[in-house]
């Protein structure tokens, strides 16, 4: 019996990404993000989630993808990254899947040139490839500093 791990999977620009379920605190629908002065790029601003102020960032900037306007059907995933609770905006949340360890290919087998430190592995499920993100590596120390400053 091989090991399994549950992932919450979501879409950004039609591509499927996955995050380990235990890294996720909750998912909420998109609500208005209050922009902070002198903030640009990755950090979009902050939201008030039941009295807690959460910084919100958009992975499009990080993944070098075209920015799109937000709709009420966008999703904010509330994550814990190295002890910091913050929200990530994604296009659509699709499902919770269970991946067997043999369904996950680690990054060491990837062709050279496409390796990114925040990719934990590639999941294969029903002909779909799921980019599994390593939440703790998702933000560089510099980016974390910016968030801490915010």
């Amino acid at each position: 019996m091989s090991e399994t791990q549950e992932y919450v999977i979501f879409l950004i620009s039609e591509q499927i990404y996955g995050i380990e379920i235990l890294k996720i605190k909750e998912v909420v629908s998109y609500r208005k993000i209050t922009p902070l002065p002198n903030m640009k790029g990755l950090i979009k601003g902050i939201i008030n989630l039941r009295g807690i102020i959460l910084p919100i960032f958009d992975l499009r900037e990080k993944f070098h993808l075209q920015e799109t306007p937000y709709t009420p059907f966008h999703i904010i995933i509330v994550l814990e990254i190295l002890g910091r609770v913050m929200g990530v905006v994604v296009d659509e949340i699709s499902d919770v899947v269970e991946l067997f360890s043999e369904e996950v290919q680690d990054t060491s087998n990837l062709p050279p040139g496409i390796k990114a430190e925040y990719i934990q592995g590639i999941g294969k499920k029903e002909h779909e490839l799921i980019v599994l993100l390593n939440v703790d590596q998702l933000l560089s120390p510099e980016e974390l500093e910016i968030i801490d400053a915010a």
């Binding site: 549950e6 235990l22 605190k25 909750e26 998912v27 919770v96």
Partner: protein
């Protein structure tokens, strides 16, 4: 300790308990009474001995009192010796107040201290007390020194006057007399009596215990044991048990109550079974392993198998092969949650593999403590409902087809009306034979066209008749100019022609009026059609509005689905956090997520469907617009026909005027025969006008294409050519003069020489005759 006893009591059987209790009660009771009787017996025996000892003491004292008072020691000693010889074991001692023996039944003990022969401290003290006070002790003393036992009686010897001569009066108490009475045999008797009593008691106790135990066993324990055995069978599930015990005691009542309870249970079970059997819908029950514990005939029949084939042998899954056996079995869900699931739609497969759509309701079965014993499910076969749904869909498609067909028919009718508007009356709209509103429209249109064709045909015929008349006039005119002598005949002919013309024209007028009323009728029919089309357009608008509302509601449903999916993912996250405890919750979250997905897909399908419907409605609206245009064209066409009829009417009026002029000409011809030439000219002019109008009429009516039977051909006649030629000939060859005509007439009547006015009068008369 107490706990241990309690536990032991709980473990042991009723018989043992009663046995032990009987032993304890009988043993204690008998032991106490035995002890009582033994001690009273011993006391009575000992008091007898004490009395005898006392009497011996008193007797001995009486016997030795006198010898002692006279100082006869020998007699005293003899007395004591006798006692020793005759009463075996009895010892008599007489001591002075210093407890020194002076006389004793055992001579060897004289001048020894009496205390040596008393063993018990109590006895010694009693002796000392008696010596001191002179009062005898209140009781005797028992001294036991195995194997000997003695009863000791003490009597102090007081200083009486008879003693003063020896002892003086100084001493109050002179000494004491002590009798030791052996009671060894008494004790032995007591012991043997006690032993015998104990033995009898033990035997009695055992006997009593056995009798009590036997009676208890017979009257209580056995019956309770029997009842217990029956109740254990009941608790094992056998409810056919009946206990027979007609005793009127508590156990009898208990048995009666037990039987009543069993009957009640049987009644309840019968009631439950009746309920099960009374359910006419397919119905089955399963145990927690999903094995069928009950299935009714309806369910077995639905699945194509028999009750005895499946009951208790197969699981629910093997029999029903439901579409949700793995994903969300309603019974399993009901057993897990304890809540009933009602109205879920699933598909099952019977033994032949036929898929049956059903609506099912399930609930858990539990005992009084709430433990789940199994579940049951009621099934409703909705095959017919599903078929009805497909029939509804078919009818929708049919309606669409009918709409298309209607459009085709409207277009066909529109084409035909376009041809009619171009004047072609040979066309005819085809009825589909369905006798619907469209067919009625076609029929009425055909009828209108028929009437119009008839009208135009009549108009044409009238026009040709006019042309004919004109030819006749022309011919008459020719004849008039060529042969003035035949003028009378010609005038006669002309008059007849005019008469016919008048009648034709009046007929023409009537026909025109009829055509006018027909065109009004056609307008009314077309208006009616227009109203129907308007109502159709309203219905289409209503459909569009309904579709728009559906779209609004779909937005709401999408919102709810989106939120549900979010909730389900949050639930999955929480379940994952809860670890193994959250496993069940995770399954629920997964189910909710699947539901949300399915809702989302269904709402997408509905949106597509609504979009299609809206497109169809728009198309329908366009068609209705086209239909409205078609009706407008019909009204226009009818108006055109009406206008044409007005023109016909106008022409007829003009014809009428022309005829009047002809009449006048004919009158003038009769009146002023001498002005024949000018009359002919006038006549020619009038004929020319008539000719023009008739030509106009024919040109007008030629616009209409009619069926062959409606055509009237006048062969070889060209009114445009034929008319002016004879006129020229007439003018050129025979210039008509009033004089020549008159001369001719005069020549015909040469004998009658009448004045000119008379001749004129005759001419008038002739003309009137003509």
């Amino acid at each position: 300790m107490t706990n241990g006893i309690t536990k032991l009591l709980k473990r042991t059987g009723l018989r043992v308990k009663i046995f032990v209790a009987t032993i304890i009660v009988v043993g204690v009771f008998t032991g106490v009474s035995l002890y009582q009787s033994l001690s009273s017996y011993t006391q009575s025996v000992l008091s007898l001995v004490a009395e005898s000892s006392q009497s011996l003491l008193e007797n001995t004292y009486s016997a030795i009192k006198y010898p002692m008072s006279i100082g006869d020691s020998k007699t005293v000693e003899k007395q004591l010796k006798d006692i020793k010889d005759h009463m075996e074991g009895v010892e008599v001692y007489i001591s002075d107040f210093r407890q020194i023996l002076h006389y004793a039944s055992e001579e060897s003990r004289i001048y020894t201290n009496i205390a040596h022969y008393l063993w018990e401290k109590e006895t010694k003290e009693a002796l000392a007390d008696a010596l001191k006070t002179g009062q005898p002790p209140e009781k005797s003393f028992t001294e036991i020194k195995d194997p000997d036992a003695f009863l000791i009686t003490i009597k102090p010897l007081l200083n009486e006057s008879s003693c003063h001569h020896c002892h003086g009066a100084g001493q109050k108490v002179l000494g004491a007399m002590v009798v030791k009475h052996p009671v060894k045999d008494v004790y032995a008797a007591i012991t043997s009596t006690r032993n015998r009593l104990i033995m009898i008691s033990v035997v009695g106790i055992i006997g009593m215990i056995l009798v009590i135990n036997f009676l208890f066993n017979r009257l209580v324990t056995k019956r309770i044991h029997w009842l217990a055995e029956k109740t254990s069978r009941v608790s094992a599930g056998d409810i056919t048990v009946e206990v027979h015990d007609d005793s009127q005691d508590s156990i009898g009542w208990l048995t009666g109550n037990f039987n009543q309870m069993i009957r009640n249970i049987r009644d309840r079970m019968e009631y439950a079974n009746s309920l099960k059997i009374g359910i006419s819908d397919p119905f089955f029950m399963v145990d927690p392993d999903m094995k069928l514990t009950y299935i009714n005939e309806a369910a077995a029949e639905l699945m194509g198998s028999r009750v005895e084939e499946v009951l208790g042998k197969k699981t629910c899954r093997e029999v029903f092969k439901s579409s949700v056996c793995d994903t969300g079995c309603p019974v399993k869900k009901a057993m897990e949650t304890g809540e009933a699931t009602i109205g879920s739609k699933v598909t099952i497969k019977d033994v032949k593999g036929r898929e049956i759509p059903i609506v099912t309701s399930a609930a858990a079965l539990r005992d009084s403590s709430g433990k789940i014993l199994g579940g049951f499910e009621i099934i409703r076969d909705i095959t017919k409902e599903v078929e009805a749904e497909s029939v509804l869909r078919d009818s929708y498609l049919k309606e669409e087809e009918a709409k298309k067909k209607l459009q085709g028919r409207v277009e066909g009718l529109s084409d035909i009306l376009a041809k009619i508007s171009d004047g072609d009356f040979t066309v005819k709209a085809e009825a589909s034979g369905e006798n619907d509103a469209m067919d009625q429209l076609v029929q009425k249109t055909n009828k209108t066209v028929g009437h119009m064709e008839e009208l135009v045909g009549q108009t044409k015929r009238a026009a040709l008749t006019v042309v004919n008349g004109v030819r006749h006039i022309s011919e008459g005119n020719q004849e008039l100019s060529q042969r003035t002598q035949q003028q009378a005949a010609t005038v006669e002919e002309t008059s007849a022609t005019v008469e016919q013309l008048v009648s034709n024209i009046s007929q023409n007028t009537a026909n025109t009026q009829r055509a006018d009323s027909l065109s009004k009728e056609a307008v009314a029919v077309a208006m009616e059609g227009g109203e129907t089309v308007e109502k159709t357009a309203q219905a289409m608008t209503g459909m569009a509005e309904g579709s728009r509302k559906i779209v609004e509601m779909m937005d709401l449903i999408n919102e709810i689905t989106f939120q549900t999916n979010l909730l389900s993912i949050n639930a999955a996250v929480e379940a994952a956090r809860a670890g193994e405890q959250g496993r069940g919750f995770a399954v629920v979250a997964n189910e909710v997520r699947n539901l949300a997905k399915r809702s989302s897909e269904a709402s997408k399908d509905i949106q597509n469907l609504v979009r299609d419907i809206m497109a169809q409605v728009n198309t329908g609206k366009e068609w209705v617009g086209q239909l409205e245009n078609g009706f407008k064209k019909i009204v226009q066409t009818i108006k055109q026909v009406s206008d044409a009829l007005s023109e016909v009417s106008l022409a007829t009026q003009e014809s009428s005027r022309g005829i009047e002029q002809i009449g006048q000409a004919v009158d003038e011809m009769g009146d002023v025969i001498e002005h024949n030439s000018s009359l002919v000219d006038d006549l020619a002019g009038a004929t020319e006008v008539l000719n023009e109008k008739a030509g106009l009429l024919q040109v007008m009516t030629d616009k209409f294409t009619l069926h062959d039977h409606g055509e009237i051909e006048v062969e070889g006649f060209d009114f445009k050519k034929s008319l002016p030629v004879p006129k020229k000939e007439r003018r050129g060859t025979k210039p008509p003069t009033t004089k020549s005509l008159r001369e001719e007439l005069v020549a015909q009547h040469p004998a009658e020489e009448k004045p000119e006015d008379l001749i004129e009068k005759e001419l008038d008369e002739e003309f009137e005759e003509f």
